[in-house]
Amino acid sequence: MTPQDIASKLKAKFGDKIVAETLDVHDPFCQVDPMSIAEVCAFMKDELGFNYLRCLSGVDYMDKKKTTDDLGVIYHLGAIPDASLLFCLKVILPRTGAKVATVENVWSTADWHEREAWDMFGIDFVGHHNQTRILCAEDWVGHALRKDYKSPDEYHGIRNNVV
């Protein structure tokens, strides 16, 4: 199955919920509507054989000139044992109130990956059963991988940002 086949199957099934497609890059991908990502992923798993979520990454697209301040979630899908079956899905979210449907019911491995994305970017995974911080402490303030994040000056008596 070529990336072209996968993209056209997704478009035939989901229509305008597939926002855009880009196939002439290193990892061909489709951009998906945030609240439809769970259905699309379930379809990818059940009908197209993507039984393995390789990687789920949060991204903050805010650049230095601040031309955009969107957040994103990138899903790298694969299959086991067929290593040639690869595809990528992306969702783009507004910075305030970033919300995306959870895919933990499709692949259980998404549970921890989504918790990490929540911890680092403050992306809300709607429907996640236990959306808590995973790498940072529970009482940590802010989301460290956002581009505009400033580390705290003090944490439990430990001083920081001291010159």
Partner: protein
């Protein structure tokens, strides 16, 4: 039956089992780092387990957004510090992929040799400490004796024992001379009979088999669902190895097998199978090193097309390599500057350990140690 006896008997029948929370870690010898599991027990049986991670978190990904590509390489050493060569390789390959450069053949051979030696060292530690977790101290000493030999070779090549910073973007840091190549060849000859020794010491030991067979069974479906890779997935009987299935570097030139668990001592996917996969992988790694040593030819050890401060073209790519613990992936977004815009590290042990609660459910409390040990976790890459 006397009245007193009757009373006692009825009391015993009414004994209500009470749920107890048992905290294990973050400082516990069998967790190989700072890892905490809260276990719910009903008597000796584990009814549920919850993992807590993050004690070693230093936000590796944020650091990489603040230093340039070359400066980030030493930080990748500290992810999986037991197989730092593999991390260097995965990171270097992810940057090279966005730069579209060809790596000289000699450099690729050197990369294969050092990564496979590293894999042997990593598996030796996994096997040795696993024996110790379960109560066998002698195999640990034998494994460390031979691991020391690998570390000496790697130290001769690049001056470091654990955090090598050797595989660089565009090649490797220094060339390997003939004496070093000879050392590797001698080690291969020395090592093959040693595997038999470990088998005699540990693998066929009755107590070891009893402690590991039929314990912590992970089915193939569960393993794929939780994104397990490496020996944990292969122990469940799935033949998946990126070196074979999606060959990167020069791995398509070597002849080697991919060992999978077959339930030799008990059920497919138990602790013994995962252990056995590691044991057999060491033999395959030796085979790869021997073939690489016979094929390597003179030539440059790094490409001259990459400058000190590489600037990959704009774009993003996910690149994965097979590390000792499974699929190590780097998702790199470049904005065309000399610093990564975003670098996400998909660490194999992070996904492997997320399945722990499923494996512990229904196990005995004493088996939790055996299960954690069989996953071979490294906190450096779980917490990043």
């Amino acid at each position: 039956m006397s009245e007193v006896n009757q009373m006692q008997a009825s009391k015993q029948g009414d004994v209500a089992s009470e749920e107890m929370l048992l905290n294990m870690g973050p400082q516990h010898p069998s967790t190989h780092g700072v890892f905490r599991v809260v276990i719910k027990t009903d008597g000796e049986i584990v009814t549920d387990a919850e993992s807590h991670i993050g004690y070693l978190h230093r936000c590796f990904e944020k650091i990489c957004e603040n230093v340039n590509y070359t400066m980030a390489t030493p930080y990748t050493d500290r992810l999986d510090y037991l197989m730092a060569m593999g991390n260097n390789l995965g990171y270097a390959m992810s940057v090279e992929r966005l730069m579209d450069v060809e790596i000289p053949e000699r450099a690729s051979y050197i990369r294969v040799i050092v990564t496979e030696l590293s894999r042997i060292a990593s598996h030796l530690l996994a096997i040795g400490t696993y024996g110790m977790d379960i109560g066998a101290i002698t195999p640990f000493l034998y494994c460390f004796r031979d691991r020391e030999k690998v570390l000496t070779i790697l130290e001769t090549i690049c001056g470091q024992r654990l955090n090598y910073n050797y595989v660089r973007i565009g090649g490797v840091a220094y060339d390997m001379d003939d004496a070093m190549l000879k050392m590797c060849g001698e080690f291969c000859k020395y090592f093959m009979p040693r595997v038999m020794e470990y088998n005699d010491l540990l693998t066929y030991n009755g107590i070891f088999i009893q402690r590991t067979a039929n314990v912590g069974i992970l089915t193939a479906e569960q393993a794929i669902d939780f994104g397990c890779t490496g020996p944990v997935l292969r122990g469940s009987g799935i033949k998946r190895d990126l070196r074979k299935d999606a060959p990167y570097s020069l791995y398509d030139r070597f002849d080697f097998e991919v060992p999978v668990g077959a339930g030799e001592a008990g059920t497919v996917g138990d602790c013994f199978d995962r252990y056995m996969v590691r044991m057999r992988e060491m033999i395959e790694s030796v085979k790869i090193v021997e073939q690489a040593l016979s094929q390597i030819e003179a030539g440059p050890f790094k490409t001259d097309k990459i400058k000190a401060k590489p600037k990959p073209s704009k774009g993003d790519a996910y690149t994965a390599v097979e590390n000792a613990r499974g699929e190590l992936g780097f998702y790199l977004i470049s904005d065309g500057s000399d610093t990564a815009f975003r670098l996400k590290c998909r660490s194999p042990a992070f996904s492997n350990v997320s399945v722990l609660h499923e494996m512990c459910r229904g196990a005995m409390v004493a088996d939790v140690v055996a299960i954690i040990g069989s996953l071979d976790i490294v906190m450096g890459e779980i917490d990043r």
